[in-house]
């Protein structure tokens, strides 16, 4: 299962730069990223190449960081994938894309989603990029 980080950040200039700076300084590569904002704060969600190191770094910097399990699917057959999920009643809470032709999705029922996608012949990647 693929792990995604989400970090609570204040919605002001420099906060994202600070986070990215910390990751870069520690040689951690960001493979995908999405931001959701509400007023003075937001959540940055991302997939990185070194989960353990990234987690340690962010905790050390006193960040409010969370890990969640997400699915990585093929971007090219996205229409087919979301249709398949809707048929079995799986909801996609949020999604964002990766630059290697893949999409990150967070679903409300992973087991059911993987089963439905596999049966439809759609890829659920075991690795990130």
């Amino acid at each position: 299962m693929i792990k995604q980080f989400s970090v609570f950040l204040e919605n002001s200039p420099g906060r994202l730069a600070n986070l990215m700076g910390i990751l870069e300084k520690n040689g951690i590569k960001v493979l995908a990223m999405g931001i959701a904002e509400a007023g003075n704060y937001g959540i940055v969600r991302m997939i990185v190449d070194n989960d353990e190191k990234a987690f340690d770094m962010m905790r050390k910097e006193n960040m409010s960081v969370n890990q969640a399990e997400v699915l990585i699917i093929e971007l090219e057959r996205l229409a087919n994938a979301v249709k398949t999920l809707s048929v079995v009643g799986v909801n996609i809470d949020y999604a964002y894309t990766m630059d290697c032709g893949r999409a990150v999705i967070k679903v409300n029922n992973e087991e059911k989603a993987i089963k439905a996608l596999s049966e439809a012949g759609l890829k659920v990647y075991p690795t990130k990029c």
């Binding site: 995604q4 609570f8 006193n62």
Partner: protein
């Protein structure tokens, strides 16, 4: 060593109070030109004050009386009898100077020793005093008290947090005395040093004062730093720390009534309120020699409870200070105390006790914004959870305070930590 003379039945306390009040009024009338004039102007002679009930005939003494009579116009004894002078920070105008005779210093030490004792400290304890030493009374007050108890004192004073933690560890500190906000900072710092404060340090008792704090802060301090966290109350005008202290029952702070007479008054009208009602505390220092005060308006809001405590002491208890009349924020005409907001934050998960209140004026309307750090342990990947937390906080504030406050959630550790009193209020109203 301290004596156990403070354990006495309530009737004896009341008798002592009346006797000591009579002699105090005589002393200030003879020794203090300020009070002689005050009493003359009010048409009162020392003989008129027979018992505690006559006290309410005497006019109040206020902070401005102290400022107006700067530096030593409030003395009731010749300057030659003084052995110590302390002064408060005079951020606006003159500082407040307080003066002690040798007997005052000794009594003050005795009261602080009692405070430590009712919290459970003994002569076997190692007491680290991390209140400021110097003009501020916190450090020296507890220092003398701990020595009087026969404990071992580490006069660490404030700051140098790394060294504080090292001393605690290496010297086996068992009692820490500091502000509650510094207590939390010590716990955080110890963790950053790779220590688990509850495992690697041996802090049995925390004596936390000099700023108002809440049950949530107690819970945090007891989870993160000390076995038992106790509130201590005092102010330099009344000697300094050691005026009142939480015993092990933690149901209010015992005020040493053989040294202080407490009245709870309506802060607006000055009328004395019956026990159990919330009001401003006015204190008469019946044992002080150097600079005793009659009915001193502390500007601290509390409730007095005269029932005998389950710990057995019959010295009345004040409720944890609800706020200061000068911290009292008037927002759209409604009185709000920062401590009330702290209690609300305490009751909520996923936020910390680190907060700031920003008051602004939008046209004719006051606006209160509560800025609070979210907890590092708040785990979510969903924005809705965070928005929900913000809404719940705003609803809670509205329900409890009857005002609309907006909440701004902040990243952990973004509000500056202070080593003294926390700066919690930013008033940007231009009046």
């Amino acid at each position: 060593m301290i004596t156990k003379s403070y354990i006495m039945p309530r009737s004896e306390i009341l008798e002592l109070q009346s006797r000591r009040l009579r002699s105090l009024v005589r002393n200030v009338y003879e020794g203090s030109p300020f009070y002689r004039k005050r009493l003359d102007d009010a048409g009162i002679t020392p003989e008129d004050i027979r018992s505690k009930d006559d006290l309410r005939r005497i006019p109040f003494t206020t902070k401005s009386d102290l400022r107006d009579n700067y530096p030593l116009g409030m003395l009731s004894t010749p300057k030659s009898n003084l052995v110590r002078l302390h002064a408060s920070s005079g951020t606006t105008g003159n500082p407040t100077v307080v003066a002690y005779t040798l007997r005052d210093i000794d009594n003050w030490a005795e009261l602080n020793a009692r405070c430590l004792e009712i919290a459970g400290a003994t002569s076997a304890d190692v007491v680290q005093v991390a209140y400021g030493y110097g003009l501020f009374t916190g450090g020296l007050g507890l220092h003398y008290g701990a020595e009087k108890l026969g404990a071992k004192v580490i006069p660490a004073s404030t700051g140098s947090t790394k060294r504080q933690i090292k001393l605690m560890k290496d010297l086996g500190t068992t009692v820490i005395c500091c502000t509650p906000s510094y207590g939390l900072f010590l716990a955080e710092s110890a963790r950053e040093e790779g220590l688990d404060p509850k495992e690697d340090l041996r802090l049995r008792i925390g004596v936390f004062g000099a700023e108002p704090w809440s049950e949530m802060t107690r819970k945090l301090l007891e989870e993160e730093l000390v076995e038992s966290a106790h509130d201590i109350y005092g102010m330099s005008e009344l000697n300094g720390p050691g005026v009142a202290m939480e015993c092990r029952a933690k149901k209010g702070l015992h005020i040493w009534e053989d040294h202080y007479i407490v009245e709870i008054i309506d802060p607006t009208t000055g009328e004395v309120l019956p026990p159990g009602e919330k009001g401003e505390m006015a204190v008469t220092t019946i044992m002080k020699e150097g600079m005793p005060l009659l009915r001193y308006r502390t500007r601290d809001m509390t409730i007095l409870n005269e029932e005998v405590c389950e710990c057995g002491l019959s010295h009345a208890r004040i409720m944890r200070i609800i706020g200061r009349t000068d911290d009292m924020l008037k927002i759209r005409g409604i009185c709000v105390f920062p401590s009330q907001i702290e209690e609300i934050l305490a009751s909520m998960e996923n936020v910390t006790p680190h907060y700031q209140l920003v008051i602004n004026r939008d046209g004719p309307m006051d606006k209160l914004m509560v800025r609070v750090e979210i907890s590092e342990d708040f785990k979510t990947d969903r924005l809705t959870d965070i928005v929900d937390l913000q809404r719940r906080l705003e609803n809670q504030l509205r329900d409890t305070l009857s005002i609309n406050a907006s909440v701004e959630l902040l990243e952990p550790k973004t509000i500056p930590r202070s080593e003294g009193k926390a700066q919690r209020i930013v008033d940007m109203r231009k009046i």
